[in-house]
C-alpha cells in the first residue's frame, strides 16, 4: 500500500510523537514495506464472525472494595513525578 506524507503526519499526531523530517521519510519507507508484507493476509478469505475471545474465556469478578495503596508505594509513585507541588502532580496547561 502506498502511504502518503500526510498519513504519516496524521498518525504521528494521533500517537503524540514529534517526528523530524528525516524520521518522517524513514517511517514512510518502513511502513510501506511492512504493510506490503502484512497486506497478504487481506487476501485470505475468512468466513464467519470476528471472534474476539476464545471459548475458554470467562469473566472474573471481584467485590468492588477499595483496597488503597501502601504508604511506601504511594511515596514511590510521588517520587517519580517529574514535577510536583507538595504531594500534588504538577502539569502544564492544556492550551
Amino acid at each position: 500500500m502506498t502511504i502518503s506524507k500526510d498519513l504519516i503526519e496524521h498518525l504521528a499526531n494521533l500517537a503524540r510523537l514529534e517526528l523530524t523530517p528525516a524520521e518522517k521519510k524513514k517511517y514512510l519507507k518502513d511502513l510501506s514495506s511492512i504493510l506490503d508484507y502484512v497486506e497478504k493476509i487481506g487476501q485470505l478469505g475468512v468466513k464467519g464472525d470476528f471472534v474476539l475471545f476464545n471459548a475458554e474465556t470467562t469473566n472474573i469478578w471481584r467485590d468492588d472494595i477499595k483496597e488503597g495503596c501502601p504508604l511506601e508505594e504511594t511515596k514511590g509513585i510521588i517520587q517519580s513525578f517529574p514535577d510536583k507541588e507538595g504531594d500534588l502532580l504538577k502539569v502544564k496547561g492544556v492550551f
Binding site: A15, R16, L19, K26, S33, L52, Q79, S80, K92, G93
Partner: protein, 471 residues
C-alpha cells in the same frame, strides 16, 4: 567456573563445601571478568546480593529450612519491576525510573530465597530480536562477540550462557525468550498464556506477553518455572493448574509441521533437528508429518496485533507521571507529550507505535486489525486440529543461527522474519521450550518443542530427554 545446577549448589551449601557468600562472590567475579565484553547486565546489585548471601549462610548455620531457590543467583530482565531499583526496559524514557512495587514473578523468587543479582539488557520495551535496540548498548553473543545474542531477552540469555548467573527471567511476546535461548545455547521456556502472572511486567502486547525462565539445564528451568507459576489476583489472566498425567517417550506422538521445514530454513539446522528426531524415533516415539496451513500468515497477523497493543500500552509514557519529561521548555500539555515521547523512545519503538496507530485508525481497522484477529483464530484452530493427532510438535526454534551485529538492523522486515517459528505459539497462547541441540558452524542450535495449554510438566520431560540424548 563450571556450570552447575540448583540441586548441586544446595548440596554444596548444606555440606558446607562453600558458603553462600563465597558462591555469590564467585558469580560477581565472573561478571567482573566477562561482562565488560558481553554487556549482559545493565546493573549488578552487588552489595545487596552479598548481604542476602550472608543471611542465607546464617540460615544454614542455624539449621533453618531452605527455600526452593535459596541462595541461587537470578538475573532479571530490565522490564520487570523491583521495588526501590531502577527498571528502564532498555529505554531512555525510563532512564531514572525506580519501581514503586515488585513484580509478582520477582516477589515469588524472593520468597523462594533467590538472590537477585542484577538487571539485564534488552531491546527497548522488548521490541526486537537482537538486543540491538537497547538505549544502553548492544549485548554480545558469548559464542561469537561479533554476533547478536538474540532478543529481546538477550541480556538474560547471555548472562546464563556465560555462567554469570545460574538463572534468569525473560519475557516472550513473539519469541523473546526462545530465540535468544537458541542463539546462546541455553534452555528457555515461554509458558502457556496465563501460567505466570505478568503483574509488574511492563506490558508490550498484553494478549501475548508471558514471563519465563532461562537456565543451563531443563531441570533448573522447571524448578524456576514452578516457583513463578500460578494464579495472582493482580493479573486476571493468570490461573492455577494441575500437572497433566505423565507421558513416556515410548509411544509419544510427535508432529513435524511441514511448514516449519520449508524455504528459509538453514539446511544444516534442518539436518541437526532431523537427526534428533531420528533418535526419538529409535526410543519409541512416533514421528508424523503434520500441517499448520495458516503458518504463512502468522507473522503478518503478529505484526498487526502486536503493534496495535504496543501503541496502546506505550501511551502511558507521556512525560506526565513518571519517566522522561520535557515539561520545562514547552508551552502546553500536547507539547509535553510529543516532545517527551520523541526524545524518550528509540527508532523501533516509534516504528511500532506508528504501525499500531495505523492498524487501529479509522478506515484501516477492518482491513488490518480485524483481519489479523481472524487469522489468529485460524492459527489457534490449526494447533487444535494437530493436537488431536499428536502430543507435541517439534520444530527448529529459529531459521538460522545467531546473525551478525548490524546485519539486519537496517531492514526491519528482515529482522521480523527471524521470529517466524516462534510467533504462532504466542498467537495461540501455547507453551513452548527451546532446548540446545548441538552446534552448526560453532554456533548453538535451538530445538523448539510446542505443547498443549498448561502441559509444561510433560514439555519439560520431553526437553529433558532431548537434553540427555545430546550429552
Amino acid at each position: 567456573m563450571n556450570k552447575t545446577s540448583i540441586k548441586q549448589i544446595h548440596q554444596d551449601l548444606l555440606a558446607k563445601k562453600i558458603s553462600c557468600e563465597d558462591l555469590i562472590k564467585n558469580y560477581l567475579n565472573e561478571i567482573d571478568k566477562l561482562d565488560g565484553q558481553i554487556k549482559a547486565f545493565l546493573e549488578v546489585f552487588k552489595d545487596e546480593a552479598l548481604q542476602e548471601a550472608k543471611k542465607v549462610d546464617l540460615k544454614i548455620k542455624n539449621g533453618e529450612p531452605l527455600g526452593t531457590l535459596e541462595g541461587i543467583p537470578v538475573a532479571i530482565k530490565d522490564n520487570l519491576l523491583y521495588e526501590g531499583h531502577l527498571s528502564s526496559s532498555g529505554s531512555k524514557i525510563l532512564e531514572n525510573y525506580v519501581g514503586s512495587y515488585t513484580a509478582t514473578a520477582v516477589k515469588k523468587l524472593k520468597e523462594a530465597g533467590a538472590i537477585i543479582i542484577g538487571r539485564t539488557n534488552m531491546d527497548e520495551f522488548a521490541m526486537g530480536s537482537s538486543t540491538e535496540n537497547s538505549a544502553y548498548g548492544v549485548t554480545r553473543n558469548p559464542y561469537d562477540l561479533k554476533r547478536v545474542p538474540g532478543g529481546s531477552s538477550g541480556g538474560s540469555a547471555a548472562a546464563v550462557a556465560t555462567n554469570m548467573s545460574v538463572l534468569s527471567l525473560g519475557s516472550d511476546t513473539g519469541g523473546s525468550i526462545r530465540q535468544p535461548a537458541a542463539f546462546c545455547g541455553v534452555v528457555g521456556l515461554k509458558p502457556t498464556y496465563g501460567a505466570v502472572s505478568r503483574f509488574g511486567l511492563m506490558a508490550m502486547s498484553s494478549s501475548l506477553d508471558q514471563i519465563g525462565p532461562f537456565a543451563n539445564n531443563v531441570e533448573d528451568a522447571q524448578i524456576l518455572f514452578n516457583v513463578i507459576k500460578g494464579k495472582d489476583k493482580k493479573d486476571a489472566t493468570s490461573k492455577d493448574f494441575q500437572d497433566k498425567k505423565n507421558k513416556t517417550i515410548a509411544g509419544l506422538k510427535i508432529g513435524l509441521p511441514k511448514e516449519y521445514f520449508a524455504k528459509g530454513l538453514d539446511k544444516k539446522i534442518e539436518k541437526n533437528i532431523l537427526q534428533t528426531l531420528d533418535l526419538l524415533k529409535k526410543a519409541g516415539a512416533e514421528i508424523k508429518e503434520v500441517s499448520l496451513p495458516n503458518t504463512e500468515h502468522a507473522l503478518a497477523a503478529y505484526y498487526l496485533i502486536m503493534p496495535a497493543e504496543v501503541s496502546s500500552n506505550l501511551a502511558r509514557f507521556d512525560g506526565i507521571r513518571f519517566g522522561l519529561s520535557l515539561d520545562k521548555e514547552v508551552e502546553n500539555l500536547a507539547e509535553v507529550y510529543k516532545k517527551s515521547r520523541a526524545q524518550g523512545f528509540g527508532a523501533e519503538a516509534k516504528r511500532r507505535i506508528m504501525l499500531g496507530t495505523f492498524a487501529l485508525s479509522s478506515g484501516y481497522f477492518d482491513a488490518y486489525y480485524k483481519k489479523a484477529r481472524q487469522v489468529q483464530e485460524l492459527i489457534r484452530q490449526d494447533f487444535d486440529n494437530v493436537f488431536k493427532e499428536v502430543d507435541y510438535l517439534i520444530t527448529p526454534t529459529t531459521p538460522t543461527t545467531a546473525f551478525k551485529i548490524g546485519e539486519k538492523s537496517s531492514d526491519p522486515l528482515e529482522m521480523y522474519l527471524s521470529d517466524i517459528y516462534t510467533v504462532s505459539v504466542n498467537l495461540a497462547g501455547l507453551p513452548a521450550i527451546s532446548v540446545p541441540n548441538g552446534m552448526v558452524e560453532k554456533l548453538p542450535v535451538g530445538l523448539q518443542i510446542i505443547g498443549q495449554h498448561f502441559d509444561e510438566h510433560n514439555l519439560f520431560s520431553v526437553a529433558q530427554y532431548i537434553e540427555e540424548i545430546n550429552k
